[in-house]
């Protein structure tokens, strides 16, 4: 997730695959063969990680799509209703991670998986944007976007609108995660260390707001038990301050 070298850790083969100019098995065998010939240059973990995407995820989402359409395209498990903030179309936001992920998408019609999932997708999830609007954006902006693969990834994996068919828990994360995985936060006007008040990273308070407002639908998820326990352990004042900050950010969402 660094601002430089955006295409190096990622193959950018999705367009060639989705137009069928390349066959998935051809790509898989090439990577497997490369590992067998040059185990000193590419590790088994890397080869396996890549093959998992093409043989695993890519085929899996297609299977899911055909099994669950057309109903899948109408799912909205979390009842999200907000519209997509205008900066998704311009990149003009002070959130450095978002400005970069969106700006790069507008410039190159490409973002890698973590940008799609943990930056733009995560923000839409935390803010409660209607999955139809999120879907439309992802279906339009990426070079590789075709509905059979875009929709399960967006509605399912990223927005949890399918109630957990694609992933066992929502990919919701606070600014801490983005801070750990990238270098954006150091050049951001928001402070990733702050949860509340003016200048605090919006991802931080929105994360708790998301969990709090969706409690009824998420509380029985085994993988979130600890997270809710953490939240409940905080003092009432602290929780209120966090929710108030989030509510203010949501009111001014187009100005972030």
């Amino acid at each position: 997730m660094t601002p430089h070298g955006w295409s190096l850790y990622h193959s950018r083969l999705s367009f060639s695959l989705n137009t069928k100019m390349l066959h998935p098995m051809e790509v898989i065998r090439a990577v497997e063969g490369h590992w067998r010939e040059h185990p000193d240059r590419v590790s088994l973990a890397q080869a396996e990680g890549f093959i998992r995407q093409v043989l695993g995820w890519r085929e899996y989402v297609r299977a899911l799509y055909w099994r669950h359409m057309p109903g899948y395209g109408r799912r909205n498990y979390l009842r999200a209703q907000r519209s997509l903030p205008s900066y998704y179309w311009t990149g003009k936001t002070r959130m450095a991670c978002m400005a970069h992920a969106i700006g790069q998408s507008l410039d190159y019609a490409y973002a890698h998986h973590i940008q799609r999932l943990m930056v733009t997708g995560n923000f839409a999830l935390l803010a409660g944007v209607h999955p139809d609007e999120v879907d439309q954006w992802y279906l339009g902006i990426y070079i590789d976007a075709v509905e059979w693969v875009e929709m399960p990834n967006t509605r399912g994996m990223s927005q949890y609108a399918d109630g957990g068919l694609m992933g066992s828990k929502p990919y919701a994360a606070s600014g801490q995660y983005i801070h750990k995985m990238s270098h954006y936060c150091e050049n951001c006007v928001y402070s990733v260390r702050e949860k509340t008040g003016e200048g605090s990273c919006p991802f931080n308070s929105l994360y708790w707001h998301f969990l709090d407002r969706n409690r009824e639908r998420l509380k029985d998820n085994a993988r979130l038990k600890l997270v809710y326990a953490n939240w409940d352990r905080q003092s009432l004042e602290k929780r209120q301050a966090t929710l108030q900050t989030a509510a203010r950010y949501l009111r001014e969402i187009d100005q972030l």
């Binding site: 295409s7 193959s11 990577v31 497997e32 297609r62 299977a63 899911l64 507008l106 509905e147």
Partner: protein
């Protein structure tokens, strides 16, 4: 006996059995469609890349001796939608049969199935011969978690397996090992960016007022537009995979 066969914009599979040998009684149809360009607001580069790749695919088929009828947006503008365009071709070619490849999109799948029902001639929906699993794979494989689906496919296709059928390295999953953040100062190889001139297509999109988003340099489109360019991108990826491993072992 004339057969009309439709190739959709995401079906640029040169290895499909349809193309094994040239047959003058077969007419392939490819069409740039308002229906597809307008149903969502696409990135300009996506529109340019899809249309340019389609044109180059049609060119390659023609060169290999196939009969192709290609409709640009200019040519297809007088048809309301895909079925209307197809009806026109079937009539003009006095076709006895119509085939298409299994579409990957629900909307197109419905549209073409309905279209076929409205025809009196022989129709056929062929496999796109692209995916590893069949369309109904959800009911044939373990799917409650991706992991088990993936393992079944690794076994079935003998991918990263040892000679006695065990996963290489003794594990199916190396997730934990892949997750390091990117070290800051490391030599990065240049990405392979193509620079193709698609100004003619760009001008056509303007002419038709196709709504789009994002930025594009139609004089230097960076996406691969052919199978051979796609192969180059794959080779470069394998090379850069080598570099990144070197880099990773070098940085503290």
């Amino acid at each position: 006996m004339v057969q009309v066969k439709l190739i959709l914009g995401d079906q640029l599979n040169a290895h499909h059995s349809w193309f094994r040998q040239a047959d003058t009684s077969v007419v392939f149809v490819m069409a740039e469609l308002h229906q597809e360009a307008d149903y969502v607001r696409h990135h300009r580069q996506k529109l340019l890349a899809f249309l340019a790749a389609m044109r180059q695919f049609a060119g390659a088929l023609t060169k290999a001796g196939h009969r192709v009828r290609y409709f640009t947006l200019d040519d297809s503008a007088r048809f309301r939608d895909l079925p209307e365009l197809l009806r026109f071709v079937l009539e003009e070619e006095k076709a006895d049969g119509f085939s298409y490849q299994q579409p990957d999109e629900y909307r197109l799948d419905q549209q073409l199935a309905e279209f076929c029902q409205s025809l009196t001639l022989d129709t056929q929906c062929a496999d796109s011969e692209h995916f590893v699993t069949p369309k109904d794979a959800w009911d044939r494989y373990p799917t409650h978690r991706m992991e088990f689906f993936y393992r079944a496919l690794r076994r079935e296709h003998k991918v990263l397996l040892t000679e006695n059928g065990k996963p290489e390295g003794g594990r199916w999953n190396f997730d934990g090992d892949n997750r390091e953040a990117l070290p800051r100062a490391q030599p990065l190889p240049e990405p392979l960016l193509f620079a193709q001139d698609v100004t003619d297509i760009d001008a056509m999109l303007d002419r038709h007022g196709v709504n789009s988003m994002g930025n594009a340099d139609p004089k230097a489109l960076l996406w691969p537009l052919s199978r051979s360019q796609s192969r180059q991108l794959l080779s470069r990826f394998l090379l850069s995979a080598a570099c990144r491993n070197l880099a990773a072992t070098r940085t503290p």
